[in-house]
């Protein structure tokens, strides 16, 4: 008793119907260990998160421990639920882009593209999307894949105690965000991909900037590769950890790098191409170790494949100079003619001049399209893209109105997070961090 009084200020405890509960806030582990050592309970339930820095946002993991061995792991989610799917039902089809881009905030272009592909399917205009719009979409998606993988690798390494890879990864990511800013006016949540095409054409000097960035990235990716590949500490922390084989992945519906780390080359870009991915030359990266190290290698090697695709996009864009980036149908192509000005993206001055100065019909048309929007014929559609985390699927339902009747995102993070238990139970407590980092969940996407 006297001993527990000594530590009362740190790990305070109280009796509940569930048993004794300790509140641990950090730096007081010794007192906790002393207390628990005296109790006869062998299993301890530890609540990790939702504010734990290495749980990737507001993820809560409930662990049942025996010593340092994890006997049971359960994930608790919902702390970042914002009701985006519900909100889309009260906005036009085009405004939906602005909402869904905020789901998985590290892969905004993928959310937008998946959503737009589904809406275009509803509108029956999939064949009418101009080639240039698809090329720009592909290029932006691959840049986004790089920036997302950079965060996955950087924070993953950081959580295992390696600081330098994070510095390099964020340095590279910054270059990609510069491209986003140049092309869309924003670094994230750009609402750049719109039903019917993309919001605007390639800005002046854009292709040169892309080539320059690709060259820079290719040279600098080596820094991280040199730091981590074969690094004995990194290998010791990741090899054989978080094992999940192909049967496990199939049962749990796991896609993306986790699935490809089991050796199955399943990549929607190859198997069910969209946005013209069949016209690009690239390889599907796999490893066969089905562990954290394997997933790390898959992401690392996918970077080079993305650069290859981007180079081919730049070649195509050079030939497509002056081509349209929106469908011809003026009843859908919303909004007309945007451009990046000094204060971000907005209506181009030429367009303002036309609607305000020369054509009243243009003004009416603009007004109707922006306030009312277009109508999508009744029915439902499902479209899927290969996002950095797996299959992002969008199920949209229309009742024939100007607003979605239902938008549902099948988020890969949401689905893949279910595998925490399968990957971690029976492992050491420290390996949980590595396993979660290898799933790369983004809570904005999980909770939506």
């Amino acid at each position: 008793m006297s001993q527990s009084n000594l530590y009362n200020d740190y790990a305070s405890s109280r009796e509940t119907t569930e048993g004794r509960i300790y509140d641990v806030t950090g730096s007081d582990w010794d007192s906790l260990v002393n207390e628990i050592g005296a109790s006869k309970e062998e299993r301890v339930v530890v609540n990790m998160g939702p504010q734990h820095p290495s749980t990737h946002g507001v993820l809560r993991i409930i662990l049942e421990l025996e010593g340092e061995t994890v006997k049971e792991a359960r994930a608790g989610i919902g702390y970042l639920h914002t009701g985006i799917e519900k909100t889309t039902e009260f906005r036009t089809w085009t405004q939906g882009v602005t909402l869904v881009t905020r789901m998985d905030y590290l892969a905004p272009i993928f959310n937008e593209t998946a959503y737009c592909l589904a809406v275009e399917k509803l509108l029956n205009i999939t064949d009418q999307i101009p080639e240039k719009a698809s090329v720009i979409r592909v290029m932006m998606m691959e840049f986004n894949r790089i920036s997302s993988h950079m965060v996955a690798l950087g924070t993953g390494a950081l959580e295992l105690g390696a600081l330098s890879p994070m510095i390099f990864a964020f340095r590279e990511r910054e270059k990609v965000l510069d491209i986003f800013e140049m092309f869309t006016g924003l670094r994230m949540n750009m609402a750049f991909v719109r039903p019917g095409g993309v919001a605007q054409d390639v800005p002046e000097g854009g292709i040169e900037k892309v080539r320059e960035t690709v060259k820079y990235l290719r040279k600098n990716f080596k820094d991280n590769a040199d730091l981590l590949i074969g690094n004995s500490i990194w290998v010791a922390r990741t090899k054989g950890i978080g094992y999940l084989d192909l049967a496990g992945c199939t049962a749990l519906g796991i896609t993306g790098p986790v699935l490809r780390s089991t050796g199955l080359p399943w990549d929607l870009r190859k198997t069910q191409p969209y946005c013209g991915y069949e016209n690009y030359d690239f390889d599907v990266v796999t490893t066969d170790s089905a562990d954290v190290y394997g997933r790390f290698l898959v992401r690392m090697n996918e970077l080079e494949q993305s650069l290859r695709i981007i180079e081919q996009c730049a070649d195509k864009l050079e030939k497509l100079s002056g081509a349209p980036v929106m469908v011809e149908d003026k009843k859908i192509a919303w909004p007309a003619q945007l451009s990046v000005g000094a204060d971000g993206m907005g209506n181009s001055l030429d367009h303002i001049r036309e609607i305000m100065g020369t054509s009243m019909e243009s003004l009416i048309h603009h007004f109707k399209l922006v306030t009312e929007g277009f109508r999508a014929p009744a029915g439902q559609a499902y479209a899927a893209v290969e996002s950095p985390r797996g299959e992002t699927g969008v199920h949209v339902v229309s009742d024939g109105g100007t607003k979605p009747y239902r938008v549902h995102f099948r988020e890969p993070s949401f689905n893949n997070l279910q595998s925490v238990a399968a990957m971690c139970e029976g492992s050491m407590i420290a390996d949980i961090i590595a396993a979660i980092a290898s799933i790369d969940p983004v809570m904005g996407g999980v909770d939506r």
């Binding site: 199939t250 029915g379 439902q380 199920h395 009742d399 099948r410 689905n415």
Partner: protein, 218 residues
Amino acid sequence: MENEKSSPFGDQHGAFGVQSSGDTSGFGGVVKVAPTFGSSQRPFGSYFDDLADDLERAFSDFRYGIEKIVVDRGELTIHVAAKYLVAVATTLRDNLKFEFCLGVSGVHYPDDHGRELHAVYPLLSMTNNQRVRLEVSVPDANPHIPSLVDIYPGNNWHERETFDMFGIIFDGHPALTRILMPDDWQGHPQRKDYPLGGIPVEYKGATTPAPSERRSYR
């Protein structure tokens, strides 16, 4: 199989969603008749005919269990009676190699009387590179659908989400609890009769209603 055309949507009156304010636009009398959907006629095209044949061969209760087969926008939707869902999913997984289920998406159709709640399951066959969609509809008064967790364990969280958002009860689910909303939450937010929320915004004496209460185009 049903051959009658029906609509999950109701007819719409007027040009605007919210009717509270006086409609002086002249469009108040407009009635938009709900679009109807029925079974598609063969040939379905693509791999859909073979898939339907294979399912008919492998699934003995095809006549009773399959309500409609709809091919729309290049996608195949099989409407399944709730009672037969597990049998159909098992057949699709074991005989037709649909080894992957991409979750479940609920849809609430308040005007689809007697079948207000729909659950939509996108399935994927990696072996054959095919997709198919299963759709199950149940009445709001008795919202029970058998769980697919035994067949596709990855549906665990998806079914919890659909329960959370729509109140569909998946019988046989190992732990059907709320997942996104707090445990003690009342109601199911994605249903059409659940308000969006939001507060009116005051601006220089005038008030702008919340988005769901505003007059808007349909």
